[in-house]
Symmetry: C3
Subunit: 167 residues, 3 copies
């Protein structure tokens, strides 16, 4: 039985809608683990757009940093983690050890008792950024995606709102 599903893709590629459908396919109510922090107005608007689309089948659990704690606290129900890239951003901006956290996540996922669908982003297919922090973030995001994909039962690439099977 598929338990861990990673859904990756570019921005506005339809990742979240695909992830929501897959999560509710495991049953309702489902837990929406939101890693976003509303740093500015643009992010607040983006969060609101996502919340508007979700209906009453969802319970929201906001957790910007302790993702493993959030998974353990919600085990037993289908979970959607949206998204790993913002979690990584929070870890890096907060000066946390993102490598240790990412590897701990990859170890924690196979021990979960109920399904986990994780959304992440493809950020490495553009031109090399001139900004050094952006290059480091891009490298970190790629590694985190690899660690989670390695333990996932299924990996999907979203393109134009459609799922492509990767694993």
């Amino acid at each position: 039985m598929t338990r861990t599903i990673l859904i990756t893709g570019g921005v506005r590629s339809g990742k979240s809608a695909i992830a929501e459908g897959r999560t509710l396919g495991f049953g309702a109510p489902a837990v929406y683990i939101a890693t976003a922090e509303a740093w500015d107005e643009e992010m607040r608007a983006r969060i609101a757009t996502h919340q508007d689309r979700r209906g009453p089948e969802w319970v929201t659990h906001a957790e910007p940093l302790d993702l493993i704690g959030a998974l353990n606290a919600t085990d037993g129900q289908p979970r959607l983690v949206d998204c790993l890239t913002l979690w990584l951003t929070n870890l890096m901006l907060g000066g946390h050890d993102w490598r240790a956290a990412g590897q701990a996540l990859a170890e924690a996922l196979p021990r979960q008792g109920s399904p986990v669908v994780l959304v992440t982003n493809e950020v490495g297919a553009g031109i090399v950024p001139e900004n050094k922090l952006a290059r480091e973030f891009r490298d970190a995001a790629g590694l985190l995606n690899q660690w989670v994909a390695a333990v996932a039962d299924e990996v999907i690439l979203a393109v134009a709102g459609l799922p492509m099977k990767v694993k």
Copy 2:
């Protein structure tokens, strides 16, 4: 019968050549609906390169904004729209309602009597741009791709000049 084909991919991924082959596969002469506007010398050179590759099987119909009008005016022949991303650019730079235009296009496509092949771009797989307009454009391009992909009979991702089936 496949009627609407969306071909997406990164820059220089071979989208146009794949799209030209698919369009002529429906018969000749075919109509090349060019949405490009030659804003500067670089764009003029890019348009010329594309025109040089196309042969006498093609009739060019230039239309930067009224894409639905161009489709209706050319119905009956195979059409290639190259490309949606430049059409979106023209809509946004001209202050038009790109959401209304994009949704109207998605409604108009299934009503076409002859095939339409549309080229678009993957612009959302790089690092988050620092420029706010670039972020808005990236979001808009992703949504437009989703709307058209949802009504397309076939969706292709071009990688290194080769077609990958998405739908």
Copy 3:
């Protein structure tokens, strides 16, 4: 028998690890043809990370420009070229004719007597760069990928460390 394999993907998508596995699948020792030049500290660190992962099955052959010469000099053993994008960078920064060199490579590959696995990068799926040189590089990288993919027996897109078959 598969002889020429092109492996493309975004940064940190796991391309090199996939390429190393495929090359050693043809036998050991294998030749690692490194096109990287250590321009700065960041690049030196990146080269060292890649070298640390490779074991004693590898012989390194460093060649920033004359890639065809390097292939001819090592024919008879499995070769891994890592990577085409850095080779292109070296050609462009050195003022060489990258189009002639890229097309000569595409002609030389099918004449090789032993397998060649080539790593390259997807750099064209982000927003249009504001920097003109970056746009030219992006175009050149896309064309080079197309030329090599056209003669490759197999083309793989790496996503989150996993291989997707393109050809």
